[in-house]
Symmetry: C2
Subunit: 174 residues, 2 copies
DNA sequence: CTGCGATGTCTGCTGTAGCAAATATTGCAC
DNA sequence: GTGCAATATTTGCTACAGCAGACATCGCAG
């Protein structure tokens, strides 16, 4: 049988686990709704993410490497997502004139059109399930939530804000 | 082709997108750190999730279907995760005496031991990257954040769509 | 100019998860 | 009891993403 030891009571329902679980449950639920909405337009979440990054770039164009840095994908993953988007005519590959190693991904007119079609519903969904409930609950709750997220993000993802992040810790504290 | 329409300017940098992106970035960053920590103990996030659900159940035992309802996996996914855990001796399958359709997954002593070994580091990680920063920033910020998450979760998750959120074997303590 | 390490992208292999179908069992209607 | 729909689990197929290696190109030291 299992003997946890009297002086080392391991409890499996620590409050911190609950908080983390709540965080995960909320986000994955929201992400699932978002995925379903995007699927109505034939887009997966990563495809949407890639295209949003492209459309928000100066000329609708980004290097593959930069795409992988801005999304949660590796360069390998970006290669294949862009493959799919190119097959569907939503994105095009474009050679770089000055560096023949780099390839740009460029969003096409069709891609912009698809995004423009998908975006209103997506924004409505975020409004309904994320921003709206927080704003209606309390005048300051949305701002506080966003501020907390930003605080956490700046801790967890130091690269997001290129600046004075003290510990560049990648290792896990033991 | 692309016709944005003069009276309906589609803007691709709506503030709501930013909030959602911040949410996603924060959670995935946190999840990545958690995954790395669990990997030190040879566990993937889903394996950890399954085992936590098991260990918190009355007798360390849950039906496959209930596991799939409590985790983010389909029953198919649960089958294979449990397969892996059984191969490693962390979980065992157990027939149900009264209904021969159902199979229980039971956590083994080795499984409890592994969880007990992995949990302190995992809790420390949550403390460092999630709970700690919020608590230190402001006395009420952690509580407000958790309350907001709970509010959102209650909106997003209720069994309105999928149904079958029935078995409340492991309730989240408040 | 030449050599060589660094950089950017793509490809082979692997592991994982979902969907839909297959299989087994139960409970109910009759 | 028999038939049938519902329930519980597993399995075949497919898609996607990561890792490590392959390949091409660049920039610099000499």
């Amino acid at each position: 049988m299992y003997h946890p030891g009297v002086d080392e009571p391991v409890t499996f329902d620590d409050e911190r686990l609950t908080v983390m679980g709540l965080f995960a449950e909320t986000f994955t639920g929201l992400a699932a709704r978002g995925a379903a909405q995007l699927a109505e337009h034939g887009l997966s979440p990563v495809e949407f993410e890639v295209m949003i990054r492209l459309v928000r770039s100066p000329e609708g164009l980004l290097r593959m490497t930069d795409l992988s840095a801005q999304t949660s994908l590796t360069t390998s993953g970006v290669t294949r997502v862009v493959d799919r988007l190119v097959d569907r005519g939503l994105v095009a590959r474009q050679a770089c004139a000055t560096d023949r190693r780099t390839t740009y991904a460029v969003i096409s007119d069709a891609g912009r059109g698809l995004l423009a079609a998908a975006l209103p519903g997506h924004l409505a969904l975020i409004e309904t399930w994320l921003v709206g409930p927080l704003r209606e609950a309390d005048g300051t709750r949305l701002d506080a939530f966003v501020a907390s997220l930003r605080l956490l993000r700046d801790h967890v993802v130091p690269c997001a804000t290129a600046g004075s992040e003290g510990p560049q810790v990648v290792a896990v504290p033991s």
